[in-house]
């Protein structure tokens, strides 16, 4: 076996990033092993498989996986690969099935993965086949507030430790209500970009006034959307924090305003504010006063490929990424608000989204610049805000002084190096959990 290659791609002193990590096949292959092969990966949501025997087809990296709920209500993440020759045993996007029959020779698996039936078990195999060793390969599954994560690595830490203090921020969106959230989607499309460009972008608020000004301007006029300019951003009370590879931007302002989401317009603003006020006591009980009243998670990514909530950047080769867009709504939220969020989300963040469509060519050209001979030798410059981040008395994680900073990007690529260089999970550092999780909300919701 070749020695583990040392990846040193980001210079933490200068912020220069080796851009070949966006295009090289060998790097990509290592990523699938060392990152997607062992990290906790977001794969879906419990609400996509609400009933016994429901299933939802998803991916862990490039590996097709069936997320099932068995007859006893337990979740399983099963590699969609028949143990005979390797055909897929499920071709539907979702549904309800107690069993999955392989369409090649008919081996049939239960939805907990066990191999149940083999045609000719006694006649053709002379009873010598050890069915118990030939179930569908199962990943470890854990959930956070209904979001389902899975990992192939038995030695991975618990999801709780993996998310660590990032949950302190994530709770302010995903863990607010007793009723939990409902996932809708996904909308899927293939982008000619490296998967990391999407993740990197989650903390890149710097691009927003340039990349998305056309959408912001028309929505300001038609919908009463807030103004968007560099000046507003530089004066913004938003900040960045970074924990264990997870990039978080958040707002700290005690002004009684609901978190801004696509879908808030001059018509719906009052309803969103009323909902915010009406649910505040419950949120305060669940998250404590500080997080309920002041902290609002904004753009964020969950390492490695969860972006802006339950949305996935699925690697499909060094220069291809399948983007899965879901939207999450609180189950008890009034119908009208759910509708506003759904429409705002798809109109802005889907394949045809007004915001999203303007991102792709940028990411694509960043990816392509890592291919052509002269360009690929020139590093990316991620020097913004160097030396202006550190621990903060009020906020967990490594916190940048300003909203507009490349601190999270630098740390993301350092986390990437930690995964790429570590021989096993024991060598991947985890930040100790120091945040105070006031309130009753837990990992389970």
């Amino acid at each position: 076996m070749a020695a583990v290659r040392e990846y040193a791609v980001i210079d933490p002193v200068t912020g220069k990033l080796d851009r070949r990590i966006f295009s090289d096949q060998a790097v990509y292959d290592d990523e699938l092993e060392r990152i997607f092969g062992r990290a906790w990966l977001m794969i879906g949501h419990e609400s996509l498989v609400p009933a016994a025997d429901d299933f939802f087809h998803t991916y862990m990296g490039e590996d097709p996986v069936i997320l099932t709920r068995d007859g006893a209500g337990r979740l399983h993440a099963l590699l969609n690969m028949c143990r005979h020759r390797g055909n897929r045993v499920c071709r539907a996007d979702d549904g309800n099935a107690k069993r999955f029959m392989c369409s090649y020779h008919g081996w049939t698996y239960r939805n907990d993965g066990a191999l149940d039936h083999v045609p000719g078990e006694s006649e053709a195999y002379y009873g010598a086949l050890d069915k118990s060793a030939l179930g569908l390969v199962e990943a470890r599954v854990e959930t956070y507030a209904g979001i389902v994560f899975a990992t192939w690595d038995r030695n991975a830490p618990d999801l709780d430790a993996y998310l660590g203090d990032a949950r302190w921020y994530l709770d302010t969106v995903f863990n607010r209500r007793d009723c939990g959230m409902q996932a809708l989607g996904p909308m899927k499309w293939l982008e000619p970009v490296n998967w990391k460009t999407l993740v990197d972008n989650c903390s890149d608020n710097y691009h927003v006034p340039t990349s998305h000004l056309s959408s912001a301007l028309v929505q300001m006029r038609w919908l009463g959307r807030p103004r968007l300019s560099h000046e507003d951003q530089f004066a913004s009370p938003h900040r960045h924090a970074f924990v264990n590879g997870h990039s978080l931007t958040f707002r700290d302002a005690d002004d009684g305003m609901p978190r801004y989401v696509h879908g808030i317009s001059k018509e719906t603003a009052r309803l969103f504010e009323e909902y915010h006020r009406a649910t505040l006591p419950e949120v305060e009980r669940r998250l404590g006063a500080l997080r309920a009243r002041r902290i609002q998670l904004a753009n964020h990514s969950i390492f490695p490929n969860g972006i802006l909530g339950l949305r996935l950047a699925l690697p499909r080769g060094p220069r291809k990424t399948e983007f899965w867009h879901f939207v999450l709504v609180e189950r008890d939220m009034p119908e009208e608000l759910q509708r506003a969020i759904r429409i705002g989300s798809q109109a802005n963040n889907g394949a045809a989204g007004m915001f999203e469509q303007d991102d792709v060519d940028n990411w694509r050209q960043v990816t392509e610049a890592s291919v052509s001979r002269r360009a690929r030798r020139l590093p990316q410059d991620l020097s913004m805000g160097l030396g202006h981040a550190g621990p903060h008395p009020d906020y967990p994680g490594l916190v940048s002084e300003r909203y507009i900073s490349e601190n999270n990007q630098r740390l993301f690529y350092q986390r990437w190096e930690e995964f790429m260089n570590a021989p096993d999970w024991a060598r991947i550092p985890l930040a100790p959990m120091t945040a105070r999780f006031d309130g009753t909300a837990t990992m389970r919701g």
Partner: protein
């Protein structure tokens, strides 16, 4: 220029009297045929407006209460085909009203809608028209389309699908008041969907 120019001898506007089919000779059109010609012309004109980027005029082809809807299309077993298209109320690709369509068009005019600046080169081919007059005076029309998009240097995509429209006459002109666009795709193979269908 008209896409379809009916010959002067054909009475394309006045429907023949009931039971008159065939009696006026081979050139008489049934009401159904006249409707078909009229709508065919409508769709051809719409295609030219889109391909010639006359999007403000294109917007005029829709009523103010239009629903412009593109559901997702799932892989489901044949016996569960009723689940193939996501219903209204689920996450869609598009579920827009006139205001959103106007915003999309206005966006392009800012000069900073990067997905379409420089703009795509498109060709909308619309065919397989079937139309049916409904009792309330509206018309149900469905068409198939192939839309080719070329963007920047070598990016290109072929979008295939169908439209199911409800049209209504407003001041003597047909307008779409509901359009459902069904793409023949599960995972869209395209970097984004920035052209109108």
């Amino acid at each position: 220029m008209n896409g379809v120019a009916p010959s002067r001898r054909i009475s394309a506007v006045s429907p023949p009297a009931a039971g008159a089919q065939g009696e006026d000779g081979p050139l008489a059109l049934t009401a159904q045929q006249a409707l078909w010609l009229e709508l065919n012309q409508f769709y051809i004109r719409e295609a030219w407006l889109l391909d010639e980027r006359k999007l403000k005029q294109w917007l005029d082809l829709f009523t103010d209460d239009v629903l412009y809807f593109m559901p997702r299309r799932k892989n489901v077993p044949r016996r569960e085909l009723h689940r193939e298209l996501t219903p209204l109320g689920d996450l869609a690709i598009l579920e827009e009203d006139k205001r959103y369509l106007e915003m999309r068009v206005a966006r392009l005019e800012t000069g900073m809608a990067w997905a379409e600046d420089p703009p795509s080169r498109t060709r909308h081919l619309i065919g397989n028209l079937e139309a049916r007059r409904l009792e309330d005076g509206e018309v149900e029309a469905r068409t198939a389309f192939l839309v080719y998009r070329s963007h920047l240097e070598t990016d290109h995509q072929l979008l295939s699908g169908c439209r199911e429209d409800r049209l209504r006459k407003v001041d003597g002109a047909w307008k779409v008041r509901r359009r459902m666009i069904v793409l023949d795709a599960n995972v869209l193979l395209d970097k984004n969907l920035s052209v109108f269908l």
